[in-house]
Amino acid sequence: MKRVSIQPQDFDVAAELAALEALGGGGVASFTGIVRGEGGLIALELEHYPAMTQAQVDRIVDDALARWPLLGVSVIHRFGRLEPGARIVFVGTASRHRTAALESCAFLIDWLKSHAPFWKKEHFDAGAPRWVDARAEDAAKAQGWGL
């Protein structure tokens, strides 16, 4: 099972996990990213490069499928305006054994958080909105995977 969706709307984590659990593997790992409402943040605006995003996420999912013995992968990434508490991203992986599921889940979210063609603009309750800078830390983490 391979599922990649780049979409503005929210998603149903339980439905994604149920599909992964039904694949006959022994383990399902997941990560859900959520907008934090710190420092007066009232909204996060995610812009992306539509022609590129789907193709790139597809490719990194294929990399994960080549690298670990996975029964299923599901990646959902939202774009548009998201408020604190909203889900941004979901990665779910299913495998016969836990290590493959956990490692591939970490690999995919590290890639999404550092290399995926998204840009974030933060809107605050006071003051001008600002574009988030790329974080060196994320790039280093992705390099740890040989990305």
Partner: protein
């Protein structure tokens, strides 16, 4: 003609999300294109004047700025991606 697309503060700075320009010389790189656009002044100069802050893609693939554009259909200019 060559399609250019802009994202994030590059898009905001140039005031549009894309445009078509005359195809540059066959050996022109992305950096050459950026310099040509920055020479227009105004918002273009502001966001494209310091190429170190820019990243690019040719036909939806990340490339270094010294990549030759050649026969590509679309060049994208944007800040470093910040991920999801």
């Amino acid at each position: 003609m060559l399609n250019i697309v802009y994202f994030a503060w590059v898009r905001e700075g140039v005031g549009r999300d894309g445009e078509q320009v005359e195809r540059p010389a066959p050996d022109a790189t992305v950096a050459d294109l950026v310099a040509m656009l920055a020479a227009r002044g105004g918002g273009y100069a502001q966001v494209l004047g310091d190429p170190v802050k820019l990243r690019a893609a040719i036909d939806q693939r990340f490339v270094p700025l010294d990549t030759v554009i050649g026969a590509a259909g679309e060049v994208a200019l944007f800040p470093p991606v910040t991920g999801g």
